[in-house]
């Protein structure tokens, strides 16, 4: 998979606590069938062995559907399962250190909630940015939403793809259509819905990154 040709349009972040299916694998498969173009596996409360086994299992699905798998935070888990890359928050390893460890071929995404952090992440070698929360969200209660104006400014100032994240759902996704982002990251509005595939399909149809 060429990391410069990743389609970030509908970027799924997993959360085992809120999914509507019995297993994470079922949720991921339904989401990908519905049109998710990237899967990020995020696990904060399990052992390394459990995370590894879960990542192996999810990678079977993403490989089958030809969708990239990104591991949140843990470079070692990404390396162990040969995932396509990692996503780093501000409390994870610095992006430049992660780049030195992982090499050039792996995708490194970095969370940024303002222009300064976005430019720094790009300079440190990030391949894409996760910018948000763009809307109020139940997942990250401590973050103040990034305004549409800020999002537009970040998109115009960086050369790498920007993925908007945070509280994105059917009712507000079209507000992001003219901001310059390359994709939307979704959690509960896809894997928290009874019909995951349909929820993904509907959101993807509403989002048009090239709308003006």
């Amino acid at each position: 998979m060429n990391k410069h040709q990743i389609d970030y349009t509908l970027y799924l972040c997993t959360d085992r606590d809120i999914m509507s299916t019995e297993t994470l694998e079922q949720a991921v498969e339904a989401a990908v069938k519905g049109g998710c173009t990237v899967v990020q596996l995020r696990e904060k409360n399990c052992t390394s062995r459990e995370f590894y086994e879960l990542a192996l299992s999810v990678k079977n699905i993403t490989d089958y559907y030809g969708v990239p798998l990104i591991i949140n935070d843990r470079l070692d888990i990404a390396a162990a399962v040969n995932a396509d890359g990692v996503h780093l928050g501000q409390k994870d390893l610095p992006a430049n250190i992660a780049r030195a460890v992982l090499g050039e071929s792996k995708i490194i995404g970095v969370s940024a909630n303002n222009l300064e952090a976005a430019l720094k992440a790009e300079n440190d070698g990030a391949d894409y940015l996760g910018v948000g929360a763009v809307f109020a969200t139940g997942t990250k209660k401590d973050t103040k939403p990034v305004s549409t104006e800020s999002l537009k400014e970040i998109c115009s100032q960086v050369k790498i793809p920007v993925v908007a994240i945070g509280g994105i759902k059917r009712d507000n996704i079209t507000l992001l259509n003219s901001t310059g982002i390359s994709g939307v990251a979704v959690i509960s509005s896809v894997i928290g819905k009874p019909d995951i595939a349909s929820a993904a399909r509907e959101l993807k149809a509403l989002f048009n990154p090239f709308a003006r």
Copy 2:
């Protein structure tokens, strides 16, 4: 540092919750000055960024004193700070996977509490074994002590160095002298003592791996 020439005699495992000093760096420096020959950094409740920064800081000390630094569980933190290796418990990544990720030059230690696990770890590419708990301990309450007979049997059956761990202190350390182990791992009996350097020095004087 040639991983085949590591001196495992007095192997310090850190625990920020029980140390007698204000900072971990102070505790590690005192322990190394007192004769600890290996330092394992173990952190289970902090962010990756915090773990990384702590590891960088401790590595300055271990490098200065020429002592190897081992990172518990996290291969990514070990790679990020160029530590000498990792220690893997049974809930961490499998040793053979860790070996594939880290390559041959890094030290991989594996916890084993019986002969079967010890032989498997050796077969999977472990460079040394941590075997225990050899005595009842407050740190790991759920483990049944490994008898001296079992410890001797493991030492006689594997070719790699064995480090005994668990509840080792001044009063019982000499019981390990004729078991075939290459070293003793210590936590509270060193960094939990008011004078860490003296505690290390005293334990090292009592332990004689070549006693018969």
